[in-house]
Symmetry: C2
Amino acid sequence: MPLVECVPNVSEGRRSDVLDACAEAIRGAGVRLLDVKPDASHNRTVYTFAGEIAAVRAGVLALYARALPLIDLRQHRGEHPRVGAIDVVPFIPLEGATMADCVSLARDVGAQIAADFQVPVFLYEEAASSPARRNLEDIRRGEFEGLAAKLAQPEWRPDFGPAAPHPTAGASVVGARMPLIAYNINLATNRLDVAKKIAAAVRQSSGGLRFVKAMGVELADRGIVQVSMNLTNYEKTPMFRVFELVKREAARYGVDVLESEIIGLVPAAALTASAAWYMQFNDAFGEEQILENRLRRS
Amino acid sequence: MPLVECVPNVSEGRRSDVLDACAEAIRGAGVRLLDVKPDASHNRTVYTFAGEIAAVRAGVLALYARALPLIDLRQHRGEHPRVGAIDVVPFIPLEGATMADCVSLARDVGAQIAADFQVPVFLYEEAASSPARRNLEDIRRGEFEGLAAKLAQPEWRPDFGPAAPHPTAGASVVGARMPLIAYNINLATNRLDVAKKIAAAVRQSSGGLRFVKAMGVELADRGIVQVSMNLTNYEKTPMFRVFELVKREAARYGVDVLESEIIGLVPAAALTASAAWYMQFNDAFGEEQILENRLRRS
């Protein structure tokens, strides 16, 4: 059975009773809740769960039913931009699932959210109905406070549901995307300018690799700097290439890579593909040679 | 539930009806049969299966019950050394299982084989009852034809069963070991002496890495040479270190590594550990950050 991951971002990061209720609703749908990451200053929590398509669909709808009565965006303050009480709902293909499965699921769940809860829904990334709606940032610009005016514009009619915000829940952005890898590379220097220059060199927005977002940040307590990245498609822009490019750019300033770190989860395939590249595996190598993959499928 | 792999080596590689009967007996025990590798010139077949401890135990005993009446070692000829109709039965810890689990299982199954089938059993590798019995080659020396004389020596009393060969099935060597990785590195040269020198440098027997067996071979059809290796403990002698050492030794002769290849199965952990090393992951990285591991355990 194909497995799908879902990573809903809920606009509540402080009230633990609300967060527990959300977790309980998700678990009750028969999926595996893999991770819960609340952030108090963002006032936002990221849930990660996975399961078969029907169970993941049920998990999202159960989350809406439970969370919407408990969250009022009119009272919500936090550092992270948001347009909805359940702000973003991405579906991600895992073992046996395709991106097409996740696009279908996003459309199906999006229509159901609008029908059941009268929440306007925008489809984004791989599920977007037009190129102008692929980027989450573009959809979310103006946030909850600017949503009524945005929805009134013909080009921002939602994909499903009313062309007006839900009074307390705003709107939701539902879509399909590849797994995201949060990947940081720490440099053996305290020169923030070097980290910023490297970030600019490797990220797509300023001419670098297609599926890399990057910024240079200071780790003041350690006296070092970091290139902090999101890798948004590890198949097309693989980890090893990002690491090697950062390392090469650092060398140009006489700076070494100290270490790197993965924040949160990483698909095994992102690591095994990197091992295969570094150790120069020939074309005969296939992921069915990985014992655990064979076990899952036999 | 802990998972264990079992890789019995059966002394028949030609009669497909016998091989099918063995596969059917294994599958009937409720384990997952992952691989069957017959070799006609060796007249030997390697089965790979996995499952929970009780099912793996049942699988081995079902294999003995089915295979022993069909194989007569007195008639058996093949290039590969063998001491038994079912020659070697290693147990290997997978997900959730420890080496101690596999040592217990080897002792338990070994005693049962002797009791049910009157086959003398030697315990080897991690399950060995003394250091002199750790190595398979030492136990197997003399083969089936020399077995009666060997068993008559006090120091070669079997761990279980009679001190005389089974008339048609000889003896069996049962034990516990780490997964074995068959790993070859191809060199961009046709100089066999270079491959042989590198093999001698990296293998344990001549002073190299503890868990590496290696030889230099010619791939005449491609006009290149290969360092052909078995890695017998990828945790203590990891793949990346082997690859880098071979590459460094090759450079000393002005030779590049062309590619490497894994034959058969490899545990995911051997690859993810290599990715972590090449990309300098910091100590915070743990295998529970690998999405598939989290999925299996939640």
